[in-house]
Symmetry: C2
Amino acid sequence: VPKVSQDHLDARRQQILAGAQRCFAQHGYTGATVARLEQEIGLSRGAIFNYFPSKQELFLALAIEVNRRYGRLLLEGGVEAAIRAMAAEDPEWLGVVFEVHGKLRHDPDFVRRLDEASDAARPTLQDWFEAKQANGTFRDDVSGRDLGRFVTMVLNGLALRVVGEEETDVDATLKLLHDAVAPRQ
Amino acid sequence: VPKVSQDHLDARRQQILAGAQRCFAQHGYTGATVARLEQEIGLSRGAIFNYFPSKQELFLALAIEVNRRYGRLLLEGGVEAAIRAMAAEDPEWLGVVFEVHGKLRHDPDFVRRLDEASDAARPTLQDWFEAKQANGTFRDDVSGRDLGRFVTMVLNGLALRVVGEEETDVDATLKLLHDAVAPRQ
């Protein structure tokens, strides 16, 4: 048996996730059949389910990846980068995310594992908000936790507008959000 | 045939909507069978479907009613009343709202009729925001439309937190939202 490098495994995993995301966006969660997943990903079901034992696992991995990506965007590019990225998301893909969250919100295993992923990211994000409070970028008369929650609410509210294909003036949104979190003059 | 008063018809309609909302919240959209709807509403399927010809019509009427209620809350109690009402919503019921919005977002008839209801309410809401800009309650360096959209994003982001049963400090949220929309000092 030839040795398979970690890089190869990671690349294959990314190929599967990217293809699955396109497939979910195009056909919805229920419509993303195994045959369609195989076709969009370009791998056999055996290869796919070697990485992700079920469609739900595949979706969970994507949902966790979305959360991570927005965490990284905030940390690296700040609030503006995260808001601009959300405004540019594919409505079909975001629609599937909301649909499946709704569908699986009574599935204890799904909820627990998604919560664990959020919980793992939370201290880093909270540290980031608190550091920005300490250096005077953000107001400090509310907690860093509440600042983070507020930014998340605006991001998620924007996500819902994207799903509904409702127009949003991103610059106006950023201006209002900035003045919510900036230090009071 | 005895004449049935409009008041009676309205009361019956409200009874059906209230019972259906409880039933959807308890059993989810798919789980709200006709038998369960009959039991929770306290009327026969014949009586119910005399008012709403299908479960989807029943849900659409509820979804439109939610939008109207938040419009009225804003107009009568301002941003704070709407935010406090959202924070106090039943997670199960809100969860069903998001689930069905996701499920039916490719149903052209459902989307069109929900959009029509939103479109009908929009001028009144925009007038309200513009009047509050004119009297100095809200800033006027962004449009009333963009203020309305921002408040809606925070409301919807909060709704998602309620669905996920995530804790939110409502006072901190109101403080941040206030400073986003208040005139700059």
